[in-house]
């Protein structure tokens, strides 16, 4: 520990601290622009110059290491003179038109120049003008003359996003931030650069000039869109969401959010919002009052239950629904005699359901990722499925964590992997078994029975060794690992590997409230998300689900829905395809318009309130379900608040839910059933197609991540199929087909076709993973 005195206050700081660190610890504010606690130190803005006793020159606080007994003065004449000097330089080429600048009111340069008092500029030359740039639909670089060259944006790309898309070209005062020759910025984390920019150089394109910062009210919320449960600030004007920003929570999202979470809000204000209950009568859709609609639904469901039994009813909810919604949905269904309620629409293998020892979860806290010695991720399009977890792993890999990936594609995760294996989906389990076997060999114990067929490759050994070494190790199962046919086998193998190596085993989690689904007891005892469509029911309730896009097998789901007598569609959006097969549409409030709770993948309970009034006649789904319960005269539907529902499920004041356990009982490992014939489909769910909100955010839909699906095939397989890149192809699964363009993509394993889900062009296809045929169209 070192002792330092700043402006007369003393502090003890750890070795290696900078003066800036010490000042923050003491609560002393030192002006700065380039310094950011999450980025490397650049010391280029020189705003943080302070006086250090015995130093002849002012020193930058952000870069000056503390020495024992150091005395620092941040407000001495020398320091203030230096700071003012820097301010003067920063302002000479900066437009002084704050009133018309989009950053006005939230500009660090503006704040600081006001803090230093009115300064008549001695600069009378012409200001340097920097040409604007177009870098895509999200970030506006219209006003690059405002840039103060702090390079935060550049360092963010290099260090956090893992991809250097922006750089500072040229030198001297002609230095400018740009992409390479007008390319777009495509990182899924790019919006964070807007937050990092201390001036109005990088601004949000969708938000630009829609509101001034002082007109906005800031409300707290939680993102439903990914499994970390990013903490948000939602900015609101006249009951409309104008902007979404990250709310710092070091343990959860640090200070970042993904672009999906930042820009999806556009959907909330879209014309596609469902604002009135609607009922289909005689093939015609009619807007009706809520009581009419609810009566219709309650009686409809009750009639089906009475005539065909409760098992003829099924309900499917999005895993981004709140805990309260999920709980009440299954409670209503149970009241109607049905236990066919599920929240895992993209899953296929449910054989683990009766064998779990507890609620599946990450297996550790998110913040612990930084301390891992090694990690193995199995079955994941990591960067796009879990941008923030990928970011944590990226940072960890840069330090000392050996991160490995076993998955179904070799696409760039921007992580410096220790080792990686890319295999066909059908090989995922057997490859994992290879790693299990390698670990057993290293440990000198017998390989678990059932793994005999597995082959131990060099990479398997490398991965196994990294999991054996070190103290903190983790195995993470990604979305693909839970979506493939052998999900339970993979889970069991991961547990074996964890047992052998002492690594924790966990799930990255597909959406914002998967744990909530398990905890709320939304688990089916009979008809899970697969069975409910395989064995078509008479009535369905869909909550927040768009089956064409969100189900593991849209073909199957749509067929079942089309034959049903009653389909109740609860959604925030008037989803056009559903007009065909639904019978009732109930406008429910998205997360910004309701109170609720999400439980993130580490088991953290995060409740939130609505930030704006529900749009039109939309109502929180928990209220809708409560009223349905009331209409049905069911017991236990007397809730006054969403908190009451939450407390009923998990008790009051819970920070982390209990019962977290990834164990399985009575699953035997058996790799014999692994088939590998013909061409296999690999399916990714592109980040901006992944949920109904993202799909309706125009800016997100213009990004590189939102290009229409192609049939992505590696060179060898293209040749084998007699196809060329660019050919129009017909893909067929079951009785559905899709017409796409073949694209050469050597990150796709041999004998596989990668086809994105969650897009109309592929909605007629079948299982996300399974056999598929491709031929020239």
């Amino acid at each position: 520990m070192l002792e330092i005195e700043i402006d007369g206050k003393t502090a003890q700081v750890p070795d290696g601290s900078t003066v800036m660190d010490a000042a923050q610890q003491l609560g002393v504010y030192i002006p700065h622009f380039c310094y950011h606690k999450k980025l490397s130190i650049a010391a280029n803005c020189r705003m943080c110059l302070v006086q250090v006793e015995k130093a002849p020159k002012p020193l930058p606080a952000c870069a000056t290491p503390v020495t024992n007994g150091m005395k620092v003065f941040t407000h001495s004449e020398l320091a203030v003179k230096a700071q003012k000097g820097v301010m003067e330089f920063l302002l000479i080429n900066h437009p002084l038109d704050c009133p018309i600048c989009d950053q006005g009111g939230e500009c660090q340069l503006q704040d600081m120049s006001i803090g230093y008092g009115p300064m008549k500029s001695r600069y009378t030359e012409e200001k340097h003008v920097v040409f604007h740039k177009n870098v895509g639909p999200l970030i506006s670089m219209e006003e690059m003359s405002r840039c103060i060259h702090c390079t935060r944006c550049v360092r963010f790309g290099q260090e956090v996003a893992g991809i250097m898309e922006l750089g500072m070209a040229n030198r001297n005062m002609h230095s400018e931030i740009t992409t390479f020759l007008g390319r777009t910025v495509d990182s899924e984390l790019s919006g964070n650069m807007i937050d990092l920019c201390p001036v109005g150089a990088l601004t949000s394109k969708p938000f630009r000039y829609t509101a001034r910062s002082w007109e906005l009210q800031r409300r707290k919320s939680i993102s439903p869109q990914d499994s970390v449960g990013a903490n948000l600030v939602v900015q609101v004007k006249h009951d409309a969401v104008m902007r979404v920003l990250p709310r710092e929570n070091e343990a959860v999202n640090e200070c970042w959010i993904s672009d999906k979470e930042r820009f999806s809000y556009q959907a909330l204000n879209s014309d596609e919002r469902l604002t009135k209950p609607m009922v289909k009568q005689g093939g015609e859709w009619r807007e009706v009052d809520w009581n009419v609609a609810l009566d219709y639904v309650a009686h409809g469901l009750k009639d089906v239950s009475r005539e065909h039994g409760g098992d003829a009813l099924a309900a499917l909810a999005a895993p981004s629904s709140t805990l309260e919604e999920l709980h009440l949905l299954s409670k209503v269904m149970k009241g109607l005699g049905s236990s066919n309620t599920d929240f895992r629409p993209r899953q296929k293998d449910f054989s683990a359901d009766s064998k779990r020892s507890g609620t599946p979860w990450l297996g550790m806290r998110l913040a612990e990722i930084a301390d891992l010695d090694s990690a193995l991720v199995v079955g994941s399009f990591l960067r796009k499925d879990h941008p923030l977890i990928a970011q944590r792993l990226r940072q960890a890999a840069k330090k000392y964590t050996k991160v490995s990936l076993l998955s179904v594609g070799a696409d760039d995760q921007l992580i410096d992997f220790h080792a990686r294996l890319s295999v066909a989906p059908s090989q995922l389990a057997v490859s994992l078994a290879g790693i299990v076997k390698a670990a057993a060999e290293i440990k000198g114990v017998a390989a678990p029975s059932g793994t005999e067929a597995a082959v131990v490759c060099e990479t398997c050994k490398q991965i196994a060794q990294s999991l054996v070494d070190g103290e903190k190790r983790a195995i993470f199962l990604g979305n693909v690992a839970t979506q493939v046919d052998q999900a339970t086998q993979i889970h069991a193998l991961a547990l074996e590997l964890g047992r052998l190596t002492n690594a924790s085993v966990g799930f990255l989690g597909e959406s914002g409230n998967v744990l909530g689904g398990y905890v709320a007891g939304t688990l089916p005892s009979a008809g899970n998300a697969r069975q409910m469509f395989e064995q078509p029911r008479k009535a369905y309730v869909l909550m927040g689900i768009e089956p064409e896009f969100d189900c593991a097998n849209p073909q199957l789901a749509l067929a079942a829905l089309k034959q049903a007598n009653l389909v109740v569609f609860m959604s925030a959006f008037k989803h056009a395809p559903a007009l065909e097969y639904a019978d009732v549409m109930l406008p429910i409030a998205p997360f910004t318009e309701t109170a609720g709770t999400f439980i993130n993948t580490e088991g953290r309970v995060q409740s939130f309130n609505g930030v704006v009034k529900a749009r039109g006649e939309a109502r929180p789904a928990w209220k809708v379900l409560r009223v349905i319960g009331n209409v049905l005269n069911l017991n236990g539907f007397e809730y006054n608040s969403s908190e009451a529902i939450r407390d009923e499920v998990i008790g009051k004041g819970t920070e982390f839910v209990g019962g977290l356990d990834n164990g399985l009982n009575g699953v035997t490992i058996s790799l014999s059933s692994v088939g590998n014939e013909g061409l296999q489909r690999i399916t990714d769910v592109p980040i901006n197609f992944a949920d109904p909100m993202a799909r309706r955010a125009p800016a997100l839909q213009q990004t590189a991540d939102s290009t229409a699906p192609k049939a992505r095939i590696c060179a060898d397989t293209l040749a084998k199929l007699g196809l060329n890149a660019g050919d129009a192809v017909r893909l067929a699964q079951g009785n559905g087909e899709a017409h796409l363009v073949a694209q050469l993509d050597n990150t796709v394993p041999a004998d596989c076709v990668r086809v994105a889900a969650a897009h109309l062009s592929t909605a007629a296809l079948g299982d996300m993973f399974g056999q598929i045929s491709v031929e020239r169209a």
Binding site: C45, R46, A82, G85, V86, F89, H128, N172
Partner: protein, 440 residues
């Protein structure tokens, strides 16, 4: 041959222009004897560094930091990669000595670097060569090939078990890469933007490994120091100013060129060696240490000795040893305008005071030169340079500010005249007459 003269020369002794650069000639001049002696007689690292310390060799790149002391900062028993790096990015206006050393005596640089590497436990080295001197870079590459073939660099040098791989890295036009940390960035394949120090290169240098950077002339002096002994070297010069040093003399003298003279030699003697002032004109001013050094009025300079302390007493610095001599036909406003343009152009653009300040200073000097100066401009210049000096990441900020400050201090009248009369104190027809350009 451009090297013109010497007094007690060491580096320049026995050179034969473009004919004598090769290994064969260097060996004939007694080259590589010191490296061999050290490796074969098992001279210790401490002994080598001790000898360099005794010589009071001060870095020839500009800052004049004692070389032996710098070497002792290297954690030489630290396991893993360590580097020695030679700075031949000679870009300081007026300086052209390293080019001639590399051109006529490249093996002295190689031997010096190998000895330095041995003394500091480094196994890899780079010589960063100024972009504009491609032919010299190629010659150095040829010399490296010779040295490698003869076993003076590479693996297991002279059977001693000592390994030292040495390569040349060619710059491509950026003065700032002469600054040692931007030079390292540049070798790493990045923009040449200086790093904030600490950490210093001795602990975090090239690729983050311990690194020592010295100037070409510094390295080239090493074999000679070991040959004649540190004490002898020191005695060639004067106390605290050991040895001989090359001075690059440019400007209004009859024979511009490189002169190797003992530190402490009077400026008047150097001027005489250069054949005196061109056309017998009167000396007006001298920049004695490269363009970044403060300008000194001619008469003050005539009473100054050429060594670190002497020039410092005259209000300037020895710097890189580039002596820019100006006669009375020079307009000091125009001269400063050109220098200010240079610093503005060469600022790396990274830190605020340098990026904005150098441009601002140039713009003001430029408008004064063009008859658009305003009253108060000289105060403004002093204010701006005051806001640059001591506030930047590297010394380029000071290097840009010092000329402005010193020109205003000594030749303020000329600037005032420009502002007031919108014209030059030096009559138009004689301006730059000293250039010696054959008019057509």
């Amino acid at each position: 041959m451009a090297m013109l003269g010497s007094i007690n020369g060491l580096l320049m002794e026995g050179l034969d222009g473009d004919n004598g650069w090769s290994l064969q000639h260097y060996v004939a001049r007694g080259g590589y004897v010191q490296l061999r002696r050290i490796l074969e007689n098992k001279v210790t690292q401490e002994e080598v560094i001790g000898e360099v310390k005794k010589s009071v060799l001060r870095g020839r790149g500009g800052a004049g930091f004692p070389t032996g002391l710098k070497w002792s900062f290297m954690p030489r028993s630290f396991p893993g990669d360590k580097y020695v790096v030679c700075n031949t990015d000679e870009g300081e206006p007026g300086t052209f000595k390293d080019r001639d050393i590399m051109r006529y005596n490249p093996h002295a640089v190689i031997e010096g670097m190998a000895i330095a590497a041995f003394a500091m436990g480094a196994n890899r080295g780079y010589n960063y060569v100024h972009g504009e001197i491609w032919e010299i870079y190629q010659r150095f590459e040829a010399a490296l090939d010779e040295a490698r073939a003869a076993g003076f660099i590479g693996q297991n040098i002279l059977g001693s078990g000592f390994n030292f791989e040495l390569f040349a890295h060619h710059g491509y036009g950026a003065y700032i890469c002469g600054e040692e940390t931007s030079l390292l960035e540049s070798i790493e394949g990045k923009k040449g933007q200086p790093r904030f120090k600490p950490p210093f290169p001795a602990s975090f240098g090239l690729y983050g490994k311990p690194t020592t950077i010295n100037n070409t002339e510094t390295f080239a002096s090493i074999p000679f120091i070991l040959k004649i002994g540190g004490e002898e070297f020191l005695n060639l010069g004067k106390a605290n100013n050991g040895g001989t040093k090359l001075f690059s003399v440019s400007g209004h003298v009859n024979r511009p060129g490189n002169y190797e003279i003992p530190l402490g030699t009077p400026f008047a003697t150097l001027l005489e060696m250069c054949g005196g002032m061109r056309g017998g004109r009167k000396i007006k001013a001298v920049i004695p240490g490269g363009s970044s050094a403060p300008v000194v009025p001619g008469d003050v300079m005539m009473d100054t000795t050429m060594d670190y302390d002497g020039i410092s007493k005259a209000g300037s610095m020895l710097g890189s040893g580039a002596v820019i001599v100006m006669d009375e036909t020079v307009c000091m406003v125009k001269a400063l305008e050109r220098l200010s343009f240079f610093y503005y152009e060469e600022s790396c653009g990274q830190c605020t005071p340098c990026r904005e300040g150098t441009a601002w200073m140039y713009k003001v000097v430029h408008r004064i030169e063009n008859g658009q100066g305003k009253p108060g401009d000289l105060d403004l210049l002093n204010g701006v340079l005051g806001n640059i000096m001591g506030r930047t990441i590297c010394a380029l900020g000071d290097a840009a500010a010092l000329p402005v400050q010193s020109f205003l201090k000594h030749f303020g009248k000329e600037f005032e005249y420009h502002i007031e009369h919108k014209s030059c104190l030096v009559p138009k027809d004689v301006q730059w007459a000293g250039s010696g350009f054959h008019k057509v």
